[in-house]
Symmetry: C2
């Protein structure tokens, strides 16, 4: 271990010829200190490069200063933008964010939550709503505020910031229906462990069903959340269901892979096949063709989450937020060709 050589509040007090209490007040509530004393103390603080040891401070004051976030890995850094936004917004309020990104499993998440608390988290941000009740009992018992992100169930008693995933699915499907498509395939993250992706698919099905269209089970391809899985899915789609004229991808990562796969076998997008996806990643407007995508508003999630968790830490009541997704139409989706329609009929 490295030996430290740090001046303490007592050092400052000794040199300034005042009591430690006065130095403490000079830092935390300067209006309580006489201007001349204050000036002298601040000068010494500056000269010594002194600042309060957070351990001592926390022990005494118990103001919440640390938010822990459990954000499981989802194959690709899906949530990087939200984490960055959250970090920025919390830092602006002098709150520290500590993040744990365990593998995707509820046991690993729960362990990660405990570890964050042991490392000093005063509040917790958790992904999804698939947690054991014991975890919430413990949080309640310790009166630890927490916030759920990207939940898919309607929660009554637990504060959350979520995106209407069903609506997102409906927007995607509706867009393609309006363009005249009737033969759909779907490429998605394995649904079992991802209620958000499952909800998007549910929205897609719902909208298709309203139009009297059934999404055939073998037209649903589950694939790991990687570009390569998207590419590899293309062959299976066209084998399983050659009439496909529209593909819906559960994320832009899949979509870029699918785009690549279609290019490799010589299918043109959108002339032969239309493609719609979710997330509206930063790259989606610049691929060729640019990807039509439903924006899931990651940025807004981060901003609202910071806002709500801070309020919760201050003991305030809070209203959960359901964010509305937004369709961004680009080049990968187009009116179905008459020839394709004929083949189908």
């Amino acid at each position: 271990m490295v030996k430290r050589n740090i001046s303490t509040l007592h050092d400052v007090a000794r040199i300034a010829g005042v009591s430690p209490g006065t130095v403490s007040r000079a830092i935390t509530r300067p209006q309580l200190v006489a201007p001349k004393t204050l000036e002298k103390i601040l000068g010494i603080i500056k000269k010594l490069h002194y600042f309060p040891d957070p351990a001592g401070r926390n022990l005494r004051s118990s103001k919440p200063t640390v938010v822990g976030a459990v954000i499981p890995k989802a194959g690709i850094s899906t949530f990087a933008q939200t984490i960055a936004d959250l970090n920025d917004a919390l830092e602006a309020k002098n709150i520290t964010l500590i993040v744990s990104q365990p593998e995707f499993s509820s046991a690993a998440s729960e362990l990660a939550a405990y570890r964050l608390l042991e490392r000093g988290a005063d509040a917790l941000i958790l992904l999804g709503d698939d947690h054991r009740p014991e975890l919430f009992e413990m949080l309640d018992h310790r009166a630890l505020p927490y916030l759920l992100l990207w939940t898919t169930k309607k929660l009554k008693d637990q504060p959350y910031v979520s995106v209407d995933q069903i609506k997102a699915g409906q927007l995607a499907a509706n867009h393609l229906l309006e363009l005249g498509h009737q033969n759909f395939a779907y490429v998605g993250i394995p649904l079992l462990h991802n209620p958000r992706a499952a909800a998007r698919l549910a929205g897609v099905k719902k909208q298709l069903n309203q139009a009297g269209i059934l999404l055939a089970p073998n037209a649903i391809i589950e694939a790991a959340h990687r570009f390569s899985s998207g590419r590899d899915a293309v062959e299976r789609i066209l084998n399983n269901y050659p009439a496909t004229t529209a593909i819906i991808c559960t994320s832009d990562y899949h979509a870029l892979g699918v785009l690549r796969g279609l290019y490799e076998i010589g299918k043109r997008v959108p002339e032969d096949i239309s493609l719609v996806s979710f997330n509206n990643n930063d790259f989606s407007a610049y691929t060729t063709p640019a990807i039509t995508s439903v924006d899931l508003k990651q940025h807004d999630v981060g901003i609202h989450a910071a806002d709500l968790i801070i309020k919760l830490m201050h003991g305030e009541q809070v209203k959960s937020i359901q964010i509305q997704p937004q369709l961004c139409v680009r080049e990968s989706s187009a009116q179905i060709k008459k020839s394709a329609k004929k083949i189908m009929l």
Copy 2:
């Protein structure tokens, strides 16, 4: 503020009928405690959901547990992957990473560094080598270990994990030279504030000069680090320097934009123009055409950084690491066409 309701070490001791010291030992050095006592204590700890308050623990033991990282924003989340890798590797050693992403300026970085220390950082990771000496004096004075990431100067006394950016530039230029190109343009991040991008460009120029080729000043386009800037640069390139057959982009973000820009004006890649870039982002292998890119090994940087900062926190000597970049040839670069050669002669 929320009121807490947490059992302390004293509560555990009281219920177990032992002294607080014994409970502390049961947690930190169980081999010093009699098995029967230990069992009883651990049972109560479990029942009470007790875990030690890190504030109390830190105050007393002064073992380093928190690493702070100052990673300025670079337009896009360039460093997200490295931060995630670093976080994972540190978490595995029970070290907490706290990150600050200030705007790109050395004053903002220095302030961020101080803020991280005030929030409990026991060691610091800093980006680049453009820091005021006062910062290092302060760190030395407090015996705080620190590590520099992505430096471009050769440092003797300061530990760093860096990538050989000049070499990266040379690899890119050399690849295109071998393909017969002689008329180059460059699209890059504004060089003034980005020594890494500047070093890559220096490598490019060096390699070109060895081949007797001069990169014309108006063939160097500086652009903000966004996809759109890459796209917008295309027009300027072809206006400034119509003979261009090869474009080097300082990042894959620019490259995707440039690809898009070239597509929009009807230039084919690589038939008309070859494109080489840096970073080897995850999407680069899946665009159409796939982007030839020099891998800057972000993942390795994160892993090595975690390793070194942990050693430094334990007071160990450490050898700085210079990572070698690696060229990944894909579809965006090709042998120059004879016709293009003729035009140039």
